[in-house]
Symmetry: C2
Subunit: 616 residues, 2 copies
């Protein structure tokens, strides 16, 4: 399209943004209007996308990091003929795919946005996949607002993209001067963004975002820039084109006061249909297709002592050999998480993310959107850094595997800053998640393989220290299952642990068995979904359930077990939870477990007391 | 001290770091040795600190963001005479204040570190307080590693510090080239850090961190730099001074292989005692002392309709008038959280953090360490961005108030990215936290005032939409309490809600009362601690407890109620939880509540079914 046609298309996108927000009675038309010219040029002249085949591997990727500008995105879909007028007007209504912020319920949306500062990190993941994993070439376009440049996650992404020479990535910053609550930090100072980005080795282009010749030229320059990502820093005006709202404060996130006259001021409705260029390249299959037969998982002998983090690393390396779609990311602690075992065998599919956990999870989300199966690891404690990205991954319907090592007080001397004590609570509350916490090496290996097939956000919690191998290598561990490790018909209490506490429960049970007090022990390796049947049976048969976890008392295994009995079914006679209620300091692993009251002796002492009480 | 003396002190700090890690059998001596010369010069010639009076308002602040270099910090304390040799050698043992990573169990440590990338954001908060809140002048020194410069939170802080001209802040980057797992991204390229920092309007000084003349001069330059924060970017060598470990990979986080010969190589033990300069300035009291009498909280009439976020903002403004120690921070959404009401009345104590939630919480932690009482707000959903900072706040024994607005599906059309549905789970699992969720305006006002006096991390959850005022302005709401809003001796079920679901529960109870089916209703405004007595009584008297929450089923109100019955006491006959189990889309607030099954009609339908089952 030429400049005149682009100008008309820009106005159409504005009119339609105003229309659709007005119909919905809510939304962000002014944030859409500022970026309308930018997106008109992109859609008509630069985007390569086959709307009939959203799974074409050569499609460009377009991420609206400023997800609140959804009226603009949907107006583009309308112009491209991807949605029709009838569906368009369902915006923000019950059941509509056109949600207030875009989600992958629409086939052309790869990832959900709406939590600002996430689009660029996800785009970095997509560009990395394109650069390193043998995809048909594509370009990644990210539209971001100026306000969200304050998010640290954006700078993690900028650093990573510059360092990795991601020339297939273009960031378009819609510098419209106004955030939600008023002026942004840098207002119209385009160079404030430019000089920062250049310091991170980006190519930058500063333009008037309403000058369509400049916009068009900038996109050409971005696509042809070599060995550097490009930022198009576009000065724009929020609410552009309608005097009553243009560049005015207090006009964020609401329909225009008078939509009819605004549409008139914008020149009325248009019906330009854009024929979007399709990807020119033939399809080449990325590294997501190949399967090289069965997975040769490492085996461990019962009675050996192995850290589950070691078992994780070894299983992952074996999985990588059998499954070419596996990609691994780590936050500069691969020697601790043991993802280094994978890195050594499959360096081309290992992504060092340095200490930038948000970027790590975002990259995983980006890669899974392209068909890869990511495993991302760091210390369990530091995964809290990426909580918002994990939450949004579930809105994105993303399937990612996340692995947290160094769980709980059992790490020992390093102290509470390094201990994952909130991770189970965090992951359990993520919609559609799976939460696994193995206690031995063979179990870990099996679960690592099982995660490969699971949808949603899947979490595996591993231990720093070695634990005894209690299962044979042929044992199976279905997700949603559990293992009963001690049982008799005379059991009067059931101990329920996972990870390190399974071994403390076993020791306690053996102690008590010696005293003529038989105790059942359940290994609850699948924390979510939880094995309701086994727990219900244990409640019926033993009366008392005691959960033991190396985690804070809230949100973990105790809560998972209690939930089983929260659907109106009869509860067990007694429920007791042992967990880390103290603030730990430094001490040996054994001292830590003792101080928290979750070692074998504490468990045994608690059970003796409980049985006395129950009998009274 | 002159150069020669400083050189000797640097060697002493190295020797002591090696000694103490050797005695403990763990720790990070090599990460300490790289920064020893830097810290020798700081301690002897530049730090102003009265170790006998850690609460002196004029004390400089020293934050070891690279908290794993605790051997160095404790060696400094030894040199300053703050700890003696006997305590020094308790490092990393059970009960010792000298933990693996520093915590405020030591009176000279303001905030816990060990999760990298947090020291600078906290330091920014302290420098902001010094700049704006009338403290005796002090300098804030932050020692950071090079690896942690990859954390986005560091760049949030760099942006904030440059923008606010924080010339009382100095960042010392120990560029020792090696992270935990191997080389850092920029290795010895000091200018990679320098040009980035300069782009953010910092003053930078690049030096050889083992050239003590240069180090000494850099500290002088940093202190005298005007209107800009300074970064001293120091090239160093990890394990400096001991050939077998110096600048070698694989030597992170472990004692030296042969401590005795290493100490010999470093010239043996020394016993230099440093006389640290005390703050020269007389004490002036910051804005933490003044109390201007009783708090004139706004009152609301029963039956009025008011959003709890509005009540939050108004109460906060009133609290600010009566309590000069209150400071307020917001993540560029003060028009939504309503902290703008405070900002308008007390602009000098309002801190705009832009969209940088990690920086916001870190600044709050820094300010509370200096005696202020911070209230930090954004959307509940976006507080997940700061999860790691909230977790570390608890390790810091920090008292901060955090407010999350736009909780739950009841926000309506904006969709899941904007809905706080995991926030209760996150905050409940934080050690020592308090979690409050009011349902009406008078209750909100009272709780906002109560939070002022609470220790630990205190969370208040507010609603976007208006809810009816059900309590009079004189009603009291103790933390740990609840309110029984409907009750009779014939109650056969107890409904337990908080926030918006209280009103749905009341409507359901009224519906069912009309059918001759009396139902108790409990307003569980204090989610943690929870009112065990009232819940126990409700269980005893009505048999069935039904929790209703606008939150995911995990970690919230259902779990909080279940926990009451997890200490071995008899459980209620039936426990049922209603929560948001679906992935919401866009819809009106009423439609959202209906879709999640937590509106009055769904609750009533569920209760009818439950009672039928129970009677069967």
């Amino acid at each position: 399209m030429n400049t005149e046609q682009l100008t008309e298309l820009g106005q159409q996108l504005r009119v339609d943004s105003v229309r659709v927000a007005d119909a919905a009675g809510s939304g962000h038309p002014t944030s859409s209007m500022s970026a309308a010219d930018l997106m008109a040029a992109l859609l008509a002249n630069h985007l390569h996308y086959d709307f009939d085949r959203p799974d074409h591997p050569g499609n460009d990727r377009l991420i609206f990091s400023k997800g609140h500008a959804s009226p603009l995105l949907y107006s583009m879909y309308l112009a491209a003929g991807a949605v029709d007028e009838k569906e368009f007007l369902t915006y923000r209504t019950l059941g509509s795919r056109l949600e207030g912020h875009p989600t992958p319920r629409l086939p052309w949306v790869d990832v959900a946005t709406g939590s600002l500062g996430q689009g660029l990190p996800v785009g970095v993941g997509m560009a990395l996949a394109g650069q390193r994993l043998g995809h048909t070439p594509y370009h990644v376009w990210v539209l971001s607002g100026d306000s969200e440049m304050a998010e640290g996650s954006v700078w993690e992404a900028i650093e990573h993209a510059g360092d990795q020479h991601l020339d297939s990535l273009t960031l378009v910053i819609d510098v419209n001067r106004l955030g939600q609550r008023g002026p942004t930090r840098h207002q119209r100072d385009l160079d404030a963004y430019g000089r920062r980005l250049r310091a991170f080795d980006w190519h930058t282009i500063e333009i008037d975002g309403h000058d369509l010749d400049a916009v068009d030229a900038a996109f050409n320059e971005a696509r042809s820039t070599f060995r550097k990502p490009t930022a198009i820093i576009a000065g724009t005006r929020k609410g552009r084109g309608v005097a009553s709202v243009e560049d005015r404060e207090g006009m964020h996130g609401k329909p225009l006061p008078d939509a009819e006259s605004a549409i008139e001021e914008l020149g009325g409705r248009r019906s330009i249909r854009v024929s979007v260029a399709k990807p020119a390249e033939p399809e080449t299959h990325p590294r997501t297709a190949g399967r090289r037969g069965t997975i040769a998982l490492p085996h461990y002998d019962v009675g050996d002592s192995v850290a589950t983090r070691d078992a994780y690393g070894r299983a992952l390396a074996a999985l990588g050999t059998a499954r070419e779609d596996v990609v691994v990311l780590d936050g500069e602690v691969s020697d601790s998480t043991r993802s280094e075992f994978f890195a050594k065998e499959h360096p081309e599919r290992f992504f060092e993310c340095y200490i930038a956990e948000q970027q790590m999870i975002a990259a995983a989300v980006g890669m899974q959107a392209l068909g890869h199966v990511p495993y991302a690891s760091t210390f369990a404690a530091f995964l809290t850094r990426a909580h918002d990205f994990l939450r949004m991954a579930s809105v994105s319907r993303a399937s990612i595997n996340v692995v947290g090592s160094h769980a709980g007080v059992s790490i020992g001397q390093d102290g509470p800053s390094q201990m994952g004590l909130e991770d189970l609570a965090m992951f359990r509350a993520i919609h559609g998640s799976t939460v696994l916490h193995p206690c031995d090496a063979n179990q870990t290996a099996r679960l690592v393989a099982a995660m490969h097939e699971l949808p949603g956000v899947c979490y595996l919690r591993t231990l720093r220290g070695a634990t005894p191998v209690v299962y044979g290598p042929d044992e199976r561990f279905p997700v949603g299952g559990s293992k009963v490790l001690r049982r008799s018909d005379a059991d009067r209490v059931t101990l329920i642990g996972a990870g390190v506490t399974v071994h403390e429960c076993l020791k306690a049970a053996d102690l008590l068995a010696g005293e003529g007090f038989p105790v059942r022990v359940v290994d609850l390796y699948s924390v979510k979904p939880v094995d309701e049947r086994t727990l219900q049976a244990a409640a019926d048969e033993t009366g008392c359930l005691v959960t033991v976890e190396d985690h804070h008392p809230q949100g973990g295994i105790g809560d998972a077990v209690a939930e089983v009995f929260s659907d109106g079914r009869p509860a067990p006679k007694r429920l007791v939870r042992l967990a880390v209620g103290n603030m730990p300091g430094s001490a040996t692993p054994a001292e830590q477990l003792r101080a928290a009251g979750i070692d074998a002796d504490s468990i045994a002492a608690g059970l003796r007391l409980l049985v006395e009480q129950t009998l009274r």
